[in-house]
């Protein structure tokens, strides 16, 4: 099984932080613009967030190129129905999901896909990555 992140929504962590600030009174467009300019502030907000308050992690999309046998794909879909898959060719798939789906999969499963998913988000959601890495290494 090989998995490679090929595209993602930009500024994922400022979007998560903006979603939180929206619920507590900020205008989402202003919060987002401010947080893009202050990545450290966005990071602090995301650091404090409980993973089980999952909906704010849904304002994004991650797309991967996945090379896997049909059986592995079926197993993945049985474990989480929120992954979207398109067959590109023999054992080649385009897969996408939001970060909430990824977080829940990683926290619930210890398998090669969970590990590959975690590695793939290191650059696009570094604060979430660090927290999940801390959890899974315990």
């Amino acid at each position: 099984m090989r998995l490679r992140l090929i595209a993602s929504t930009p500024d994922i962590e400022p979007l998560i932080a903006a979603a939180i600030l929206t619920t507590t009174g900020s205008k989402p467009s202003e919060a987002y613009e401010a947080l893009r300019r202050q990545p450290r502030r966005a990071e602090r907000i995301v650091e404090r967030l409980e993973f089980h308050h999952g909906s704010v992690f849904e304002h994004n999309r991650l797309c991967w190129l996945l090379e896997a046998e049909d059986e592995a794909i079926l197993e993945l879909l049985l474990r989480s129905r929120f992954f979207q898959l398109s067959r590109l060719g023999d054992e080649r798939w385009l897969m996408s999901a939001n970060l909430r789906t990824v977080i829940e999969y990683i926290r619930q499963h210890r398998d090669p896909i969970a590990e590959a998913l975690l590695e793939s988000i290191g650059e696009v959601a570094p604060t979430v990555y660090k927290r999940l890495r801390g959890e899974t290494s315990k």
Partner: protein, 203 residues
């Protein structure tokens, strides 16, 4: 009402790697994140019925309404004597809300007296395929005016960044070439087609 597309994945990023793919298949992998500000709770109630989406909405448990009359949406049809009745109710609701807060009633309970006209802000994320369905239903002339305005603004925003991919987006009569509303049809398909063939393309 203010609508802004905050972020999205350009379709070319996927097509460059995934190669040939139908628009519908492609759209199901793309997500569009919007800021929606200054809509009424009437509108947001309709919006969140579209379940294949994600929402983060201003909380009335955590956010206290300061001056209600400055934060309400008033339909254009409410004018003259109707406007007097509307404004009086807003004033009364505002007073009742403030009084309850002063009496120590928690915000989460005081908000029970706030009207549907109260403004709200939210962040909305939909994948491209769900957006097509949303436009199909809510750009339709049978949709309520405020959510139709919202759908039109969202359509303008996505057409600005993906003009080709959303060329066929709009109410279902525009997408399908026939009206699926049966006996409830507005009968104005030609007018609607003309509008949605130019909306967001300088029209």
């Amino acid at each position: 009402m203010r609508v802004k597309l905050l972020a999205y994945i350009p379709s070319r990023e996927l097509l460059n790697i995934a190669g040939e793919m139908s628009d519908l298949e492609l759209l199901s992998h793309l997500a569009y994140i919007f800021a929606v500000e200054g809509i009424s709770r009437v509108c947001s109630h309709q919006l969140v019925r579209h379940r294949a989406a994600s929402y983060s909405q201003q909380s009335q448990r955590y956010v206290e309404v300061e001056r209600l009359r400055d934060y309400v949406v008033t339909p254009k049809t409410i004018e003259g004597r109707g406007r007097e009745i509307f404004d009086a109710l807003i004033e009364e609701a505002s007073r009742a809300y403030r009084r309850l807060i002063e009496l120590g009633v928690p915000r989460e309970d005081a908000r029970f007296v706030l009207p549907n006209a109260t403004e709200t802000h939210l962040m909305v994320t939909m994948d491209g395929r769900s957006l097509l369905h949303f436009f199909g239903l809510r750009c339709c002339l049978r949709a309520q005016w405020e959510i139709r305005e919202l759908a039109d603004e969202m359509l303008r925003e996505v057409r600005r960044v993906e003009p080709k991919l959303f060329r066929r987006a709009g109410p279902y009569c525009y997408q399908l070439g026939y009206c699926p509303e049966g006996r409830f049809t507005c009968g104005r398909m030609e007018e609607v087609k003309k509008r949605y063939s130019s909306l967001g393309y300088g029209g």
